[in-house]
Symmetry: C2
Subunit: 250 residues, 2 copies
Amino acid sequence: MEAKTDVPTSPMEVTRGLREACMSCSLHELCLPRGLSGHDLERLDTLVDRRGPHHEGDHLFRVGDRFESIYAVRAGSYKSYTVDSEGREHVLGFHLPGDLLGLDAIYPSHHLCNAMALDTSTVCALPYDQLSILSGEISGLRVQIMRLMSKDLADTATLAGDFTAEERLAAFLVGLSSRFRERGYSPREFNLAMSRRDIANYLRLATETVSRVFARFEKDGLIEVERRAVRLLDLPRLQSLCEAMGGLQR
Amino acid sequence: MEAKTDVPTSPMEVTRGLREACMSCSLHELCLPRGLSGHDLERLDTLVDRRGPHHEGDHLFRVGDRFESIYAVRAGSYKSYTVDSEGREHVLGFHLPGDLLGLDAIYPSHHLCNAMALDTSTVCALPYDQLSILSGEISGLRVQIMRLMSKDLADTATLAGDFTAEERLAAFLVGLSSRFRERGYSPREFNLAMSRRDIANYLRLATETVSRVFARFEKDGLIEVERRAVRLLDLPRLQSLCEAMGGLQR
DNA sequence: ACTTAAACTTGATCTAGATCAAATACCCGG
DNA sequence: CCGGGTATTTGATCTAGATCAAGTTTAAGT
């Protein structure tokens, strides 16, 4: 048996604790700490409340929950989604390590969507009022928060467009691929954390259509897909399929 | 003949200049100044570079332009849009007085979309680096910038969902209605600044479909529409048509 | 291993909305 | 007031993708 990982009880565990500090986090360059120097980083670090692990199906927050913190995904992945009055689910996004969650709740001060773990996952919670104060004092932090929000705005806008099922799915795969690359994983071969149904809801397609387009892509030699495991065989061609959308997506 | 409006040359013009200060701007409560006290407001005011008028079809910025300022619409209206590699236009949003434009360009530091005046329109340009510095010093300004970005994120997410043509158009009208109400105009009766084609591109529908749904709404006694002039006859029923979407939209 | 349920795929239809095709209305410059 | 271009409406088809309907594979218990 391994020791429980959520209570540091040995020197080894303490070392592990240190490794989890922003300073030594591998997501450094993607996440809030980007561009921050040693001392500022330490100050940010004191705000961080590391939470989890959440297991598949666990909720990080739900519609209507009071907004208190924004979350940075540390490990695993989450989906954000809403359920409309007809009971239809709309997936708003998939969130990988380094992504921020909960930004849309700042204005109304309560959450507008649900966030559910797709995997065994953990987050860093950043209490928003403290973060806001700190961002007044550290211009680099302010800059990075704005950058990340701006990026979210741009990404969402891309998805909003009117595109074919092929374009959407190609963009989805290419987008995931570059996000994995940024995070140091293979951009050619990865596992989908989300179900076909989630992908379909995200891309505004029927599950069956997603399945069929996957099959078509495989037949055309663009990808190899077996259940959740995907290998991109012809990234250039996939990119050209979705260049109409500006190339990528999240 | 009236005097040119862009060069203050008389006491009257000076008065007009004062009226245009943030402090006395009617958009105060919607726009960046919200929640700012007298002195802070004056500081914000010194950043503002009032530009225009732009005439119908004029561009405020275009894809690829270097990002320098964010813009607050002062009068008139703009649309933001992209043109994809197939030449299809995708309208991202319509921007009324008090709305901010250009936020999605912060991250890449160049504009990702075009912004075009739909009417004779003016903006307040806020140089982003100065605004960023000032927002470090004035917490209320920081709060308001985050609120407005957060709102944009939430709005865009709503549009991204999978809804019928009726739901979309109803939400569009209801959204416009509440935005006009917020701005002190009639929520029941207004003029559309945008063409059917723009509406269609925004809602991911064909122009013909927009036309037909307008006709259907009119036949059902929901609205009266003549060219660009719209009167909402049954707001409650329109709202119930789009409640699936969470009620509104921009 | 056996059951049951969920996830996924595949095939057959159906349909909302796109596209194609005119006709009509409006607007603007001369 | 007139001619030509653009915006809008209306009608007739067409089609991408939805929906309906079985299968099939996988995973989790028991």
